[in-house]
């Protein structure tokens, strides 16, 4: 059985982190989300995946070039015209029943296996969830799907759609037919199939998580970091205390006096310390440097980042390549964040700093503030608002 993985989306609600990365490449415990999806699918016996790419596709192809033991075929969705349209791009590679899933949701292998083994012609994975997902709320009758409601007005229904389906080859003809009527989402296609009398079997998924907003990265990191391999590599100097499940990558140097409490993942080629503290559940990407006397707690630090000495980083995200000078403080607390016109209330959130920023010494960032890509912040500034990409705060 083949799997089609949709990975063409930009993920606008995840800006600034998706300005140079497609959503599926955002790292959770130092591994892109897409890789979790491919792992789950591979372990369920799928030997070929067709990945529908679009936005920033080279990043995906570059990363997966060394991925072994599964055949990967890429098809490009040139224009973002909805999930059904994305699926349609894979048509020529599918000869029989297949599964389709999104590359940006974490799913566990057992659920995929259950989906594959299911004997119905159409089946899907659903999940109990207090909050509605972007795939819609589902109404079930006797285990079969009755209705998918994309954006329900009331918070009814216990289950949501995961967007993961097992479909027959005939779906492509149906999608083509419906797209001429202006139907572009897979959910809508499925709804119309139910209306025509087909049955869609539903299976409850074990582990499923979606990343919608930037802070989801922190929560997902915390949830998935336990599964990260915990072996130590590189050079661990004397006087380093490592407790719990800590993974240290190749060529990384942990200088003397560091105190690392797992679960923590430190990537390859990093330099940490001396005398820095890394607390759970923190992930530090490859080639990053944490200068002496800094503290990083429950945060996601992406690749190529620099954290200056005596900095305090908690519940935060530091984007790829950002350089933060000494004595930086992310203030951790409650905040209301505005994303794409919606207001979200957050508890215990720190700073979210985009890629390639240059942040001067002694900068303080108030809780929940989002700093865009390539921003420059002069020393001693206190940031109380979101900063759009490519801005300077002088």
């Amino acid at each position: 059985m083949k799997a089609v993985i949709l990975a063409a989306g930009e993920g606008k609600r995840l800006r600034p982190f998706t300005e140079t990365l497609p959503k599926v490449m955002l790292p959770v415990a130092n591994k892109p989300v897409l890789e979790y999806v491919i792992d789950a699918v591979k372990k369920s016996g799928v030997t070929e995946v067709i990945i529908v790419v679009g936005y920033k596709k080279e990043v995906i192809m570059e990363h997966l070039k060394n991925y072994k033991n599964i055949k990967i075929t890429y098809v490009t969705q040139d224009k973002q015209l909805g999930t059904a349209h994305a699926l349609l791009q894979a048509r020529n590679h599918i000869k029989g029943p297949f599964i389709v899933l999104s590359g940006d949701n974490i799913i566990d292998q057992k659920s995929i296996l259950n989906l594959i083994k299911d004997k119905s012609e159409y089946s899907m994975l659903i999940k109990e969830n207090p909050q509605p997902s972007k795939y819609g709320v589902v109404f079930i009758e006797k285990g079969k799907l009755k209705e998918i409601v994309e954006k329900p007005k009331e918070e009814v229904g216990k289950f949501i759609s995961t967007g993961i389906y097992k479909l027959p080859k005939s779906i492509f003809a149906k999608i083509k037919e419906l797209s001429s009527e202006g139907v572009y989402g897979i959910s809508s296609v499925i709804q119309s199939i139910i209306d025509k009398g087909e049955t869609i079997n539903t299976i409850i998924a074990d582990l499923w998580a979606d990343i919608v907003y930037p802070w989801d990265l922190i929560h997902l990191n915390e949830a998935m970091i336990h599964k990260a391999p915990s072996s130590v590599s590189g050079v661990i100097e004397k006087g380093v205390i490592i407790k719990g499940g800590v993974s240290v990558g190749k060529d990384t140097v942990i200088h003397s006096g560091c105190y690392i409490v797992g679960p923590v993942v430190v990537g390859q080629g990093c330099e940490i310390g001396p005398n820095s503290c890394i607390f759970p559940s923190t992930t530090i990407g490859d080639n990053s440097v944490v200068h002496p006397f800094s503290q990083v707690r429950n945060s996601v630090v992406m690749n190529d980042a620099h954290i200056g000495s005596s900095s305090f980083i908690k519940n935060s995200i530091i984007g790829r390549g950002s350089i933060i000078e000494n004595n930086f403080s992310s203030v951790d607390g409650n905040s209301t964040v505005e994303i794409e016109g919606e207001f979200k209330k957050l508890e215990k959130i720190g700073a979210m700093i985009g890629e390639d920023c240059n942040i001067g010494s002694n900068v303080v960032i108030e809780p929940g503030k989002i700093i865009g890509r390539k921003c420059k912040i002069a020393p001693l500034k206190r940031i109380i608002d979101n900063i759009p990409s490519n801005s300077k705060v002088m």
Partner: protein
Amino acid sequence: MKCVILAAGEGKRMHPLTFTRPKVMLPIGNKPLLEWNLLNAIDAGIKEFIFVVGYKSEMVRNYFGDGEKWNVKIEYVNQGEPLGTAHAISVVEKFVKDFIVICGDTIFGKEDFKNIVKTKDCMGLVKVENASEYGIVELDEENVVKIYEKIDEPFTNIINGGIYHFSSKIFSYIRKTKKSLRGEFEITDSINMMVKYTKLRGIFLKNWRDVVYPWHLLDANEEILKKINKKIDGTFEKNTAIKGKIIVGKNSKILSGSYIEGPVVIGENCKIGPNCYIRPYTSIGNNCHIGNACEVKNSIILNNSNVPHQNYVGDSVIGENCNLGAGTKVANLRLDKGNIKVVLNGKKLDTKRRKLGMILGDNVQTGINSMMNVGAIIGNNVFIGPGSIANGEIESESKIL
């Protein structure tokens, strides 16, 4: 009657010991797993062998050569790519007619070889307690009906022993075998096809031991050492105490004050002592040195390694060319006496053992007074600095300073 032995596998679950050697070359009682199978097969009357090699094939070839040392004929065939058991067997098609094939890393006894050789078209079966970890076999009286993959709730405790007696018919079924869910060509799939047309008898094995993880080597080592006979080729100084059965290889010297409680196997060119204490179920390779004030128990030490001054090594496996600095000690028991958990290939595992010391790869150097915590798994070329503590899994080329 040729015996084909599959010896091409890496044995990823045996890391770090299999980074530089194939799984079949891991030693117990100072002989590689493969040699125990060879000896037992020879005892059962087999004289011609074909080793299917692949991963680090030179290690197998360099050790076994053409079989002259055992008065048998050994040929080699390179599998080429690790595509599964059926593929491994397919490469010998031109060389065999009616043959036995075994997985080289599972240990089979002499009796069982005899029984399998005697019976045309059969396979070995074993009754185990933990059948959920193996592929189980459904029988119809004596004949095999189907071999299943691992199932969570197995309906029988009879598993596939990994030893088969095939005729050349098997090759046409191997050709028809498709890739499994794992992406490999499995002989069990070929067998499932074949049994629809040909009877395959199930023969229960009397002696069967499987080794999956490094600590299983300690159990296998213990079992094999219980059966050794005393053989002394080395020299003893005065005032050494030997209890029980021991084997000492050529040119090895047991120096004054050494206290050895057998069963213990010591290789060639070793220097044991002075004043060391070696306790039962310990196998020491060639060119090793166990020095003053050292205690070693229930451990396997590979060639060219040294436990030279004031060390304690218990329930451990030490690779080749390792050197423990003076005072390096191994912890092998939790203070709360609970099961020892390890991290292997990044994953946490419960070894279900109360006692486990360390598993060392090759070329590990430890500084003076370093401490190896329970269940530490240490890769190749690792440097554990003076006074440092080694915990958990430490990957190859690392330094703990």
